[in-house]
Each structure stands twice: as structure tokens, then as C-alpha cells.
């Protein structure tokens, strides 16, 4: 290994360590109505202060400091990975200064913090005022909590104020809580900001795929949820449009009801075929958006363009020549049957009710093969069962993708990511006869970033499940904390079941941390023996299903522990 290679490896490792260290995680659970005085604020405030919020005239401290120090703009520093030692050093300098400023803000207030930045980064207090003002507001709101008062008011039939829903970093206006949260006006989606950010993410994704696979994916399956599309005002929707090579257009009422085709000369890449599997919730909340997405696919499919530059057209023509009409061939938006929600893949996994891996992908298609949109005569079809259409559409897919948008709701925090992204990937694997590349878009950070599913599972496991800061935070809550740990292990297991995306070491580390550490196991059993047993059982199931090649000794030990736990719980009964 040359010195240069070694340097590069060191920098890459360093970036990875930094990524783990900096990632925000929830530490514990909330108690309704309670003000958490101990709430550690610096990390969160730093993140709040790291976003530009033009609508409030707030600029990111990181950007101001980078400018003040005469560096490239901060986003460029973030992008310059892959062994650029100078950029890394500059970025660390900016981060350290911002951290000190926010610490000072928490200890002494705005003035001291602003002065620090003035002295050390030549950023005028004028420029940082609105940012610190925002932080002041966040701190003030966190010192009180009106949830209980709102509940009492609701119980007296009084008016409960509406409010947006998101996490604090995304949108500090969610404070105060205790309000009646709402979705968005579907006609506003996607917003201009969402469209801009989506272009960056989608290009990022395509670049990565091109780099690793030598060509663009001809078709992708996107998972669209209401959760992130509400909070990002439709970044997921805008990504789909961008992959197709179109932009949303607004009508005279400023509603996104039309699309505009981006000419190939401008696009400079082929139009990607996209299969959209949308959640039942997205279907309910974004009916008008589904019409827009469906319209976009049909428009693109009908363009008179060479098929090697228009994969939608290519696939639609292929299918039409085999059999079927344009209407059948151009269906790309799939969801549940009307009035139904979810893929059931999560239930099947958690309840261990499947035998072959295929069954999970097939179940996904069974639940999700209902087409939404309009036919070429303008007639709406609201959930027409279209299994064959979906099978065909998925058979061409080479990459699958979903956004995550919040520090609190990650891919191992809830069962819904593996049921959707995992489910669709498993369905593709059988129909395309190849496992697709699976990507997760991370919209939490300043620069949008696309990771492989495997990388994301590792990052989540390292920052949450295996991280003492995380699990001790959970264990403060006793019974519920153990259930949370168990649920993270099960959700991780879900990624084995649906996507083979979990390395052996992850299971081994989980076993070492929670089961083979006697003191820890004792604690878990004291607090919640039922969940402790489920956790050990899940590890054994992972091994039994071949997801984990466990060392023999470890496995035997786990089996002993499991049967002890069974006995204890039986004894209790």
C-alpha cells in the first residue's frame, strides 16, 4: 500500500468516524407535558443554527463562519470528501467555532456568542442576530410546555390552535407543542425549495449509481410517504419528477397541477423510468399530487425521443408491442386497495410467518398493486387492481430508493421502512431476477446525501442500537426502554429478511452488548423480561434463518439463556 493510498484510507476512516460522532440521535422518551430541564441543548441548537431559513431571514452560522474565515462556502466543504485534507481541516475549524459559539450562547446568551464570532470569524453581530434570535425562541419555548394545558382545554371543548408537524431542527415553528398538527395543502407540493433540493439529491443518486454500476439505472422504484413529503413540501415528489426529466408547473392559482418537460439537451442524461409505490397515507393526503405524477409519466412516455434516452418510452413501447394498451403500459403509481393501508410485510416479519424470502416480496405486491391515476380519456381510476402491470414495472427495476427525513424516525426506529423499501426491493429481486441497488436518501443533514442501505443500517446501528448514549437513554425509562431496544433489534432483523442488508458483526455486537453481558441482561430482565426474551429469540431466529453466521460458542450460550428466560417466564405464570 502506497503512502498515498494509506493517507486516503485514513481520511476516509476519519470521515466515517466523524459521521458517526456528529449524527444526532434521540436520547430517551418524552413524558407528556413535562419540561425536561436536563435537556442537552447544544447539539440540537447547533443543528438548528446550521440551516438557512430564508423565509425568516435566518442564515446558517456554519455558512457565515466559513465566509468570515475566507473559506469556500460551507456546502462545498461538506461535499469535498474523498481525501481532501484541506477541506476537512477547514470544515473542522468552522464546526469547532460554531460549537463554541452555541455553547457560549447557552451559557451566557446572544451577546457573548455574537462577540465570539465577531472576534474569531469576522462575522458581524448584525448578520448573526436573527439566527441567535431563533435559538432564543427555541430555548424559551423548551423551558415551558403547554401540552397538559392543551389537553385540558380540549377536554373542555375549547379551540386548539393548529400547528405544523416536524422535528425541531427541520422546523422550529413546531413549538409550542400541544397544538393540533396538520398536513399541507397538496396543491403546494412540490415547493420550489423542494424542487431545488430534489435535483441535487437525484443527481447525487444517479452519479453514485453510474460510478458503481457503469450506467444509469433504467428503472427505479421509489417509495413515497406522506411523512417526509409533508415536512419537506414534496422533495420525494420532486425527485420522481426530476428522474423523469420534468419540472412541476404552477397554474394561475399557484397550484402545482401541470408539468413541463426538460429537453434532453438540457437534461444531458436519459429519462429514468420510475415506479412509484406510495403509502396509503400519501395516497390519502396527496390525491392531487398522484394525478400530477401519473400525468408526468404519461407525458414522458409519449415523447418522440430515442428510446436509449427515454427509458419510460422504451419500456412502454416494449410492453405495447408485446400486448396491451398505452394505458396499461404507462401505469406507474401503485398503492393499497382503497381504504387499506400498509404492506403487511412488517407483520409477517415480526410474527415470523414466512418461509421463503420470496413470500415477503409477493406480499408487498399483493398489497400494493392497486393503480392510481387517470387513463388517456381522463377517467380517474382509484385503486384498480393491476398486479400484472406492477409485476412488469418492477421486473425492469435496477435500483430502489426512499428518503428519510428525521433524526427520530430512522430505518431501525420503526417497522415501516423495512416493510416498504425492503418489501419493494424483495419484490424486485424476484421479478428482475437480480437484487436491486438499494439507496436511502438522507435529508437530515445540510447537504443531502445518498447512502446504500447497508451503509445506513451500519450507521443507524452504530449511532443508536449499539451506542451506550442511546440505550442508556432508553433504559432510563425502564420497561418501555427495553421494549424500544428490542424493537430496534427486530427492525434491524427486518432488513435481513427483506434485503439481506445486515452484516454478521451487527448481530454479534447486539448479542455481546445486551445478552452476553451478564449485568446488562440482568437489568433488561428486571425491567421487562418479556421484551428481553423476545430480543434473544430474535437473535436466534436470525441465526436460524441464515441471516447470521454466529460463532458456535456464542450461539450455544444464547440458546441456554433463551431457555432460562423461557423457564423464568413460565415460572412466573
Amino acid at each position: 500500500m502506497t503512502g498515498k493510498d494509506r493517507d486516503a484510507r485514513v481520511l476516509a476512516l476519519y470521515e466515517q468516524v466523524l459521521e458517526i460522532e456528529e449524527r444526532l440521535i434521540p436520547t430517551g422518551l418524552h413524558v407528556f407535558g413535562r419540561v425536561d430541564e436536563e435537556r442537552a441543548r447544544v447539539d440540537m441548537l447547533r443543528m438548528v443554527a446550521s440551516f438557512d431559513r430564508p423565509e425568516k431571514g435566518v442564515r446558517a452560522l456554519t455558512d457565515l463562519v466559513a465566509e468570515g474565515l475566507g473559506f469556500k462556502d460551507y456546502s462545498a466543504l461538506l461535499r469535498a470528501r474523498a481525501g481532501d485534507e484541506d477541506a476537512l481541516r477547514e470544515r473542522e475549524e468552522v464546526d469547532a467555532l460554531v460549537r463554541r459559539a452555541v455553547e457560549l450562547f447557552v451559557q451566557e446568551g446572544t451577546e457573548a456568542a455574537a462577540r465570539l464570532l465577531e472576534t474569531n470569524a469576522r462575522v458581524s453581530a448584525e448578520d448573526t442576530r436573527s439566527t441567535f434570535h431563533l435559538l432564543e425562541r427555541v430555548c424559551a419555548e423548551l423551558k415551558k410546555n403547554q401540552e397538559m394545558e392543551s389537553l385540558l382545554r380540549a377536554l373542555r371543548g375549547q379551540y386548539i390552535e393548529p400547528g405544523p408537524g416536524a422535528d425541531i431542527v427541520q422546523n422550529p415553528l413546531i413549538l409550542p407543542t400541544g397544538r393540533n398538527i396538520h398536513a399541507v395543502n397538496p396543491y403546494m407540493v412540490p415547493s420550489e425549495v423542494a424542487t431545488t433540493r430534489a435535483e441535487a439529491t437525484a443527481e447525487n443518486l444517479l452519479e453514485r449509481h453510474l460510478r458503481e454500476h457503469g450506467r444509469y439505472p433504467r428503472a427505479m422504484a421509489l417509495v413515497l410517504w406522506g411523512l417526509d413529503n409533508i415536512k419537506t413540501e414534496g422533495e420525494g415528489v420532486a425527485q420522481a419528477l426530476w428522474l423523469l426529466g420534468v419540472r412541476p408547473l404552477r397554474d394561475s392559482l399557484n397550484r402545482a397541477t401541470e408539468i413541463e418537460v426538460i429537453p434532453l439537451e438540457e437534461l444531458k442524461r436519459p429519462r429514468i423510468d420510475v415506479v412509484m409505490t406510495v403509502s396509503g397515507i400519501f395516497r390519502d393526503l396527496f390525491g392531487a399530487t398522484i394525478v400530477l405524477l401519473d400525468k408526468a409519466v404519461r407525458r414522458v412516455a409519449a415523447l418522440d425521443e430515442p428510446v436509449e434516452m427515454n427509458f419510460v418510452r422504451r419500456h412502454v413501447l416494449e410492453q405495447m408491442s408485446a400486448d396491451g394498451s398505452f394505458d396499461e403500459a404507462a401505469v406507474r403509481v401503485f398503492s393499497n386497495a382503497p381504504g387499506n393501508y400498509g404492506t403487511n410485510v412488517n407483520f409477517m416479519v415480526m410474527d415470523s410467518q414466512w418461509e421463503t424470502a420470496e413470500a415477503l416480496g409477493d406480499l408487498f405486491v399483493t398489497r400494493k398493486c392497486f393503480a392510481y391515476g387517470r387513463d388517456s380519456k381522463g377517467r380517474a381510476f382509484e385503486g384498480r387492481e393491476a398486479r400484472l402491470c406492477m409485476d412488469r414495472a418492477l421486473s425492469r427495476v435496477e435500483a430502489t430508493y426512499q428518503n428519510i427525513d428525521s433524526f427520530e424516525i430512522g430505518i431501525t426506529d420503526v417497522d415501516h421502512y423495512f416493510e416498504y423499501l425492503g418489501g419493494v426491493s424483495k419484490a424486485v429481486e424476484k421479478r428482475a431476477q437480480a437484487r436491486p441497488a438499494i439507496y436511502v436518501g438522507d435529508n437530515l443533514s445540510r447537504s443531502s446525501c445518498v447512502r446504500s442501505l447497508e451503509e445506513t443500517v451500519q450507521l443507524e446501528t452504530r449511532t443508536k442500537t449499539l451506542n451506550p448514549k442511546w440505550y442508556e437513554g432508553m433504559l432510563k425509562h425502564g420497561f418501555r426502554g427495553v421494549a424500544e431496544i428490542e424493537s430496534h433489534v427486530t427492525n434491524t432483523f427486518g432488513w435481513s429478511a427483506t434485503a439481506d442488508a445486515v452484516d454478521d458483526w451487527i448481530y454479534a455486537e447486539v448479542a455481546k452488548t445486551f445478552v452476553l453481558d451478564e449485568a446488562m441482561l440482568e437489568r433488561l430482565c428486571q425491567l421487562n423480561p418479556h421484551s428481553a426474551r423476545s430480543l434473544v429469540g430474535r437473535l436466534l431466529e436470525a441465526e436460524g434463518r441464515g441471516f447470521w453466521k454466529a460463532e458456535k460458542e456464542m450461539l450455544e450460550r444464547l440458546r441456554e439463556i433463551f431457555s432460562d428466560l423461557e423457564d423464568q417466564l413460565e415460572g412466573v405464570a
Binding site: G157, Y159, V169, S534
Partner: protein, 728 residues
Amino acid sequence: MKKRELNISVFYVGTSLLSPLREAERAINRAYDLNLRVAAYNFGAPLAEDDWLEAVRDLSRADVVFVIHVMDGENASRLLIELENQKRQPSAVIVINCMPDLMRRTRMGRLDFAQLFGSVRARDAAERRSRGLAARVGAWMGEQARSSAKKRRSGSHTQYLKLVDRLPSLLRLVPSAGKLGDIKHYLYLFCYFLQPTPANITSMLLYALKHYVTDERLKVEIKLSQPETVPSVAIYHPDAPAMFESFAAYRKWYAHRLTKKDSKPLLPEETVGLLLMRPQIVSGAHRHYDRLIRALEAEGLSVVPVLSTLMDNREACERYFVEEEKEAKGKKQSALPRRARVSQIVSLTGFSFVGGPAMNDSEAAARYLSELNVPLRSVVSLDTQTIETWRESGTGLNPVQAGMQVAIPELDGATEPFVFGGIPRGGAEPVPLEERCERLARRLRRWNRLQRAERSEIRLASVIYCFPPNKGNLGTAAELEVFESAWEMLKRLDGEGYSVEVPGSADELRAKLLQGNSESFGAAANIAYSMSVEEYLKLCPYVEEIEKEWGAAPGEINSFGGQLLIQGAHFGNVFIGVQPSFGYEGDPMRLLMAESGAPHHGFMAFYTYLEKIFRADALLHVGTHGAMEFMPGKQVGLSSSCWPDRLTGELPNIYIYSVNNPSEGTIAKRRSYAELISYLTPPIESAGLYKDLSALKELLNAYRRTQDEDERAELYASIEQIAGGLNL
């Protein structure tokens, strides 16, 4: 002699015009011995191809075209193209209150629309005057069509309606001939349209025929009456002989009515304020309103139904729903608390509270309603789809209605998105959905009880979850410590005068739920009640439907010894129940179904228990999220056959919800009529480094710092060793 054939095409949005148009068609044919055909198309939602082709056929024969209130991008752009393509141009195209591109398509004689509403210099006084009038009307229409306007002069609606009242007399001064004639005609048509009484709509059509269709007989014979006027703001009641412009007059009438008809006086604490669409009242298309009003009164509630000041309902509210401030000398106005005359507001308009159909200023709405502290309910009339399509649809409301009439009012804090009426297939005016009106009225009465009853009498059914269903998961909720939270609630409710037995600690509370008698039933939690099948059959009207899917009651889930088990525990007047699961456990066949048809018996029995045996006054769902709101049924605009509607029953539903999950929260809001109370997410911190990760970072930094090759090589060896151990 063959009657003269004439065709008028009307493209409009809403449900108030169709019935007066039909009437007008009949009246005109009778009076003038014509063969007039009025073809009307509701442009509220994009037309399907067959309807569109028919509309185009009608358009090609039309002598006069009216385009009214059309804001929808797709219909509008298709119509624009068609208007352009007509080989035989109609004699007049009259566009009122539409998006700008359509407004510009107005064609009436020599009228240039850009000039009409523009600022071209007038050459004489008469022209100046008529242009001035047109400009004011135009400015108002512009406001209606603009969606992004944030600032708006308050009171513009009333001022504008006043102008409309005066317009006919002002117009008399404008010469009918010459270049100003067309402006005058446009404004006249506009006056008729704005007060769409059947007589005015007839006049509107006649006016257009008289002035724009080449027919000497009609030109001479058609006699036009001046536009009828209707008060701009008023209180309407189906039993009253006329509308009331003052609240005092209405109150008097209402009290008088009491003595004769045994109704109730207007006590604010039991009065519901309703906001009605003005055009529906004016045109006489208000049977669905009347039914809802009577349903509320049948529940013992009083009503103040007022004409909505569409663009800004604060005007109507201020005038009729708020007591006039007493003249208090020496006191500052703001020191006087404003007292509401109503305790709930129900908007039947289906639009935002401030901003009307095309925009919304939800901040202003929330500010106003918070100050008044009266809850807002927004209910839906099916205006762009028929009752039959709604009934048959698995989806419920179409995207246009779901967006405009549900999603936008939600931004104002509105709840209870009930469908209460709509146009039946082939019908000309909206009719009520009887059962929905009654259900809604009963729900509002239940809310009213929460407002008025002694707290010690209020019975609360709180619901927690256990997912996936096993003992370890009791109290599942995203980001929330459910037992601590529930314990805090009990303590607080106790302090506020509710009858609560508060356990000694959160742990005690959990133990009571988790252990109790659970083992003897083999259940995950304490069993608070065993319901016999007989009782279940008696109390629940849906059992037959459930049996089709799950077999005979009690079934296998949440049952024991032939009884249905209700999991939970009583804490005085507060019951904490454990919601049953979907019922997929150990049932792979059920999991594999693309569509599910009904909740299982145990699930239904649980909610039946809460409403009919525990006799709860309200539901309180604790944490994100349960299964009930995801049960089969329409997605929004539920009917009585939708399961969440049946399970929620008549009970007000208050739902503690993670602030970070507005999407699933909105499902609860729409499908189980929940009022959400957001809770904060847990503190977030940087993950930091632990175990060997910290050591690795130090080594990496040491490597970066040194330039010494030997040292680097040595460090690198350690780095790889640690990294290997960490699987990096």
C-alpha cells in the same frame, strides 16, 4: 311555426347555480316561446373524457357562453383551447370571477377586457365613471382569483357587496349605446349573477340574449327587471319568514318561536354558529343546510346560521357570533373580554376561514379563533362529485374536494370533516345525507356536553396500545413514555376536579394494567370487563358484517371462555384500555389478503364497551399510533359503512400525537375525527463516540498531525487493527 332554437353553455363551479339555471330555462321558453337549451357543466373537478366531449359539442352550438368561478388549471386550459378553436364563435363569451387567462377570453361586442380592467385614460366623465366601476369590480375579482395575496383589506367583502347593491342605480347613468354599452352590459350581468336568485339568473340569461343574440323579436320583447337584492350579511333560518340583518331581531324571533314551538332560547353555551354559503341561500339551494340545522335543534342545541362573508369569515363572526362590546367609558377596549354568542362554529362553506376558495390565511384564522376560543368544525358538501360517486367510491372525496375542502380548513384548526350533503346524480340542487347530518349533530352535542358538564361527571376512555401484541410491548407509542405520561395526566385531571383514582406511581399504574388478573385469562393485560356474546349482539349493530370475515362471535382474539375480553383498568371515571391488535397474529392467510373487510370482534367489542357500557364522554388516544383509524373505509369523507366511523361512534376523540408525525396524525384526524394534541419529541444529541471509536479517532488525528513516515506507518498499523475490530 318552428320555435327559435337557442343554446347557452354554462361552465361553473359549485352547486348553487344549476337549479336556478334549469328554472330559468323553463321560464324563458314559456314566456318567449323559444327552444332555449341551457347546457351546464360543473367544472369543480376535471371532467372525464366523455363528459368533456359532450361539453365541447354543446360549446360548438352555443350562442352565448358563461364561464363562472372556474379556477381549476386543467379544465380551464382545455376550455381556453376549445374557445380558441371554435369555428363558429358564440355571440358572447361572458367570464365572471375566473382565473386571469379565462377572464381575458371575455368577448362581448367591442369589449376589450384588458382595457376594461386596465388603466386606459378615459376621455369623458361617463367613460371615467363606468371604467371606475369596472375597475373596482375587477379588482375584487382579481382578489378572488389570487392565491398568494397575503394582505387583504378587511371589510372588502362587505364594501364590495354594498357597491353591488348600488351598481344598478349607478349603471342607469351609463349610456347603453356606443362603446360604453358593452361595459355596462357586463356589469349588469355581473349584478344579476352576484345575487343568484332564480329571478336574477333568469334575467341574466335574458339580458345576454337581448343584447347579444341577433333576433329582432327578442330585442324588443324581452323585458328586464332590475336585479333583486338580498342582504349581504344576514342570519338565515329555515323557519323564519325572512332573513335577519340584526342579531337582536333574530334573538327576538328565536325567543318568540320558543313559546310557540317549544324550542330553546339562545344561550351561548349551547348555541352552534353556522357559516353558510351565500349563493346557496340566495338561489334557494339549501335543503342540506336546513336538514343539518334541524338535526342540531333536534339534539337540543340552538343555532345561529349566518351568510358567510366568503373571503373573510371574521366579518360574519364579528357581527353575529360575538357580543357587541358594551360602551364602557374610561376602560380600554382591549380590557373587555369579548364574549362569544356561540360555543361551536361549523363552517358549511368548505373553504378556508380567512381567504375564501382560492387562498388561505391560516395564521389570521388561528389568531382570531384562539382569541374567541370557540372550536371550528368544517363540514363538506359534495359539490364536485355526486352523492352516488361518493357512496360507490372506495376513496370517498375526490382529490379536488379532499384538497380544497378538507386539507385547507385543517390548516385553520378545523375538525370533524363530515360529509353532510351533496348533489345526487342527475339532480339540480344539493340534498342532505340524513344519517350523516344526524350523526354530526349528535357528535356536536357530545362536544357540547364536554363544554358544559361538571368535571366530576365526565367519563374518559383513554386508549393505549400494545404492538406487536405481547406483554413486553404494553404502552407502545412513538417517542413517548406512556405510563409516566398517563400517570401525569391522571394526577392533573384529579387536580382539575375530575373523579380519578390516582395510583401511587407510574410503575403502580403499569402493574395494574400489566398484571392484575391477566394471567387467569391468558391475556396480555388486565381484563376490566368480560362481555357476553349476547350483550355484544345486543349493543353492536355490525356483528353480521364482522362475522362474514371473522366467523361467529366471540372469535379467537381477545376472547376467553366464550366471552369477549376488554383489556384495561379503571381509575375512577377514567378508564385506561388497551386497544386490541389488527388480529394478524398466527394467521398468515389473513395477512396475505389484499384487502381487509372488517375489524375482528374483539376490536369492535372494545369500542362498543367504551361507548355503550363504560359510557364514555370522550375518547383519549394516547400516543402515536393505534390501529383504529386505519380500519377499512373511505379515506376521507366517511360514510356510515366505514369502520373508523363506526368505531369512533359519537364520541369526541382527543388524540395525543407526536409532533413529528403529521402524516399519520392527519389520517386520525380525518378518519376518526380526532383532535390532535401534539407532544414534543425526545431530546436529541450528537451520537458521540464510544468504546474503541474514541480511541480510533485519536489515532487518526495523531496520524493526520505527524509528517514522520515511520510514525505514520506505526500508527497506521494500530489504526487498521482497531478499525478491523470495529468492522470499519
